[in-house]
């Protein structure tokens, strides 16, 4: 059995991490989840830095950890590489020596190791930095070298822990491209932990969503993110989500309000999903065709690049579940409407823009 096969159970202070993860050889899986959901714990167990209460980790058929038989290989013998937020390049070695570190630790002769290192650096587009020390590299350049270094050690599994979180906005898309290209070219099995849905979309074949130590969503990236079944996933994907019960006319929320949309699975728990860009904001009751108009009050205004994301909160007389919904407006529109926290508004979204699909198995709130 190739790739990663892990079953891990670790009791922590506030929750118990209990997951089963399968990653096929050459596949890239992204793990999303709010802070405290167990992502770092999972990575720690896979890397061999933490021992699970119960569990088994195997990569390419090799058992790395098994509480049943007492196997626990130390990090040096696991063949699990790590690329973290902080490149952690050895400050006293050049980029080339950094990348050659893995091969040389495996006993490869210096000349051959340097060759391998140069090849890897070229792969990530960092060949010209070979003789520079880490202090002379930018964040993006350092992460490239760190990626080359991790790959040069020929890991059976590569773990990426929010690898672009410390980079500035311009460097991130470039790095994402590099990582995607290299992972694909080398056919590496990889597990990526991230907050950024763009990372998942760019790099991962599949996405797992962790909440309170359990996997609540698992599926192809595009599918999970465009049809989120939990509030967190929706938030990560930048979408609005309302949960309730399926109805021929759309979705019926717990308090009885109907959210008009295409037909939902009748009687079954379902979620209605729509984009903030499709939500219109009125200060007086709307005119026109939209059938979905809900009363709310402005809770916050968040600048998002060229748009302003208006966050709503419930208002007496309106539905409670509008809290947390977002509407994207231009700054001009916000100014015209004189919106500020506390302003009573009406949110409106066309039925055609709302998708309803079955809810996730875990609590969708």
């Amino acid at each position: 059995m190739s790739g990663l096969s892990a079953r891990v159970r670790v009791a922590r202070d506030r929750f118990t991490l209990d997951v089963a993860v399968e990653v096929a050889a050459g596949e890239v899986v992204a793990v999303l989840g709010p802070n405290g959901s167990g992502k770092s714990t999972l990575l720690g167990v896979l890397a061999g830095l933490l021992l699970p209460d119960q569990g088994r980790v195997a990569v390419d058929g090799r058992v790395l950890t098994d509480t049943a038989t007492g196997v626990r290989l130390p990090p040096a013998r696991r063949g699990v590489g790590l690329l973290a937020q902080d490149a952690l390049l050895f400050p006293h070695l050049t980029a080339l020596a950094n990348v050659a570190f893995g091969p040389r630790a495996a006993g490869v002769r210096r000349g051959r190791a340097d060759e391998v290192a140069r090849h890897r650096l070229a792969e990530v587009g960092a060949a010209e930095f070979a003789d520079r020390k880490p202090a002379a590299l930018s964040g993006g350049q350092a992460q490239r070298v760190a990626l080359a270094r991790a790959l040069a050690a020929e890991p059976g599994l590569l773990l990426l822990d929010e690898p672009f979180a410390a980079l500035d906005v311009d460097a991130t898309p470039v790095l994402r491209g590099v990582v995607r290209r290299v992972l694909a070219a080398t056919g590496r099995t990889a597990l990526l932990v991230t907050h950024d849905p763009l990372d998942a979309l760019a790099l991962a074949d599949r996405v797992l969503v962790l909440a309170d130590g359990r996997v609540v969503e698992d599926g192809p990236t595009r599918a999970v993110l465009s049809r989120p079944r939990t509030a967190f996933t929706a938030r990560v994907a930048g979408l609005n989500l309302v949960s309730g019960t399926g109805d021929p006319a759309g979705l019926r929320t717990p308090d009885g309000t109907l959210v008009a949309a295409a037909a939902g699975p009748p009687g079954d728990p379902a979620v209605a999903v729509f984009r903030p860009a499709d939500v219109a904001v009125y200060t007086s009751p709307a005119q026109g065709s939209p059938r979905n108009v809900f009363a709310a009050v402005v809770a916050a205004l968040e600048p998002h690049g060229d748009t302003v994301r208006v966050r709503a909160a419930a208002t007496p007389g309106g539905p409670a579940w509008v809290t947390g919904l977002a509407a994207d407006l231009t700054p001009a529109a916000v100014a015209d409407l004189a919106l500020e926290p506390g302003t009573p508004v009406h949110l409106s979204v066309k039925a055609a823009a709302v998708a309803v699909h079955p809810a996730g198995t875990a609590a969708a709130g």
Partner: protein, 265 residues
């Protein structure tokens, strides 16, 4: 072409210069007094007398050897203290400081009662005499100088943390490789300073040496012992040798410190 630092400094309280100047004076003025008191014309003759030459050679040889021993023994100790998770490590850390607080003569006596003929260990080593030998000088110097190396190095190791070592293990490096290629290079600057301090302390060591190793020209009479002896009858000679000692110490520090400092970014 260097760029002058044009940043406006937030300012050192001017008042600090007063005690700082007093401190500097306390260190520098006695040495100046020594120079002023000495008869510079007779200096060359005094420092090239057989006793002086023997003492200088002995001092340099023993201090160098002691420093190497401090490194070979104290270095691993520092790593163990900084990285080991064995319970009781904190007590060990305090114990290592003992030679720093013991008066050197007391240290010498302790060594005598341990390694002398009738000593705890010495009595089990028939035929091997340790006191009165050059080896005893080295032992005394290592005893007093090693804490300087251990404390400095251990502090640096603890500050540096273990992140780089953790990365190295995920790259497949075994513990000895990690130590050799990651841990050691990263603490070299601190190591450099520690070695310089140890050397200086070993060079100036007096009380433990005279009590444990004794005082015999060419064998155990290091430069500080020679100075003390000369002070009995030939104060000018003692002053001349003291200046020699100061010059040697300053030379070593001047050569070694800048390199150690440059390593620290």
């Amino acid at each position: 072409m260097s760029t002058r630092d044009r940043r406006v400094r937030t300012g050192l309280p001017v008042l600090l210069w007063v005690p700082a100047a007093v401190a500097l004076a306390l260190v520098v003025l006695p040495v100046i007094g020594l120079v002023a008191r000495s008869d510079l014309s007779s200096l060359p003759a005094r420092i090239s007398s057989p006793g002086a030459v023997a003492a200088l050679g002995l001092s340099l040889r023993t201090a160098a050897l002691s420093t190497v021993l401090c490194l070979l023994l104290g270095g691993p100790l520092a790593v163990v203290l900084a990285r080991s998770r064995v319970p009781g490590v904190r007590v060990l850390r305090a114990v290592v400081l003992l030679p720093l607080v013991l008066p050197p003569v007391v240290g010498g006596l302790a060594l005598l009662y341990l390694l002398g003929r009738g000593g705890l260990l010495g009595s089990h080593l028939p035929g091997i005499r340790i006191p009165y030998t050059t080896a005893a000088v080295v032992i005394a110097q290592v005893f007093v100088a090693m804490p300087f190396l251990v404390v400095g190095l251990e502090g640096a190791l603890r500050t540096a943390g273990e992140r780089y070592e953790a990365v190295a293990t995920t790259l497949g490096a075994r513990p000895w490789t990690v130590f050799r290629r990651v841990t050691v290079p990263l603490v070299l600057p601190a190591l450099g300073s520690g070695l310089v301090l140890s050397f200086a302390r070993a060079l100036g060591e007096f009380g433990a040496t005279i009590t444990f190793a004794g005082s015999l020209e060419g064998v155990t009479r290091t430069l500080p012992l020679q100075v003390y002896l000369l002070a009995e009858t030939d104060v000018d000679g003692a002053v001349a040798l003291s200046l020699l000692l100061v010059v040697v110490a300053v030379a070593v520090i001047a050569v070694a410190r800048p390199r150690a400092l440059r390593g620290q970014r």
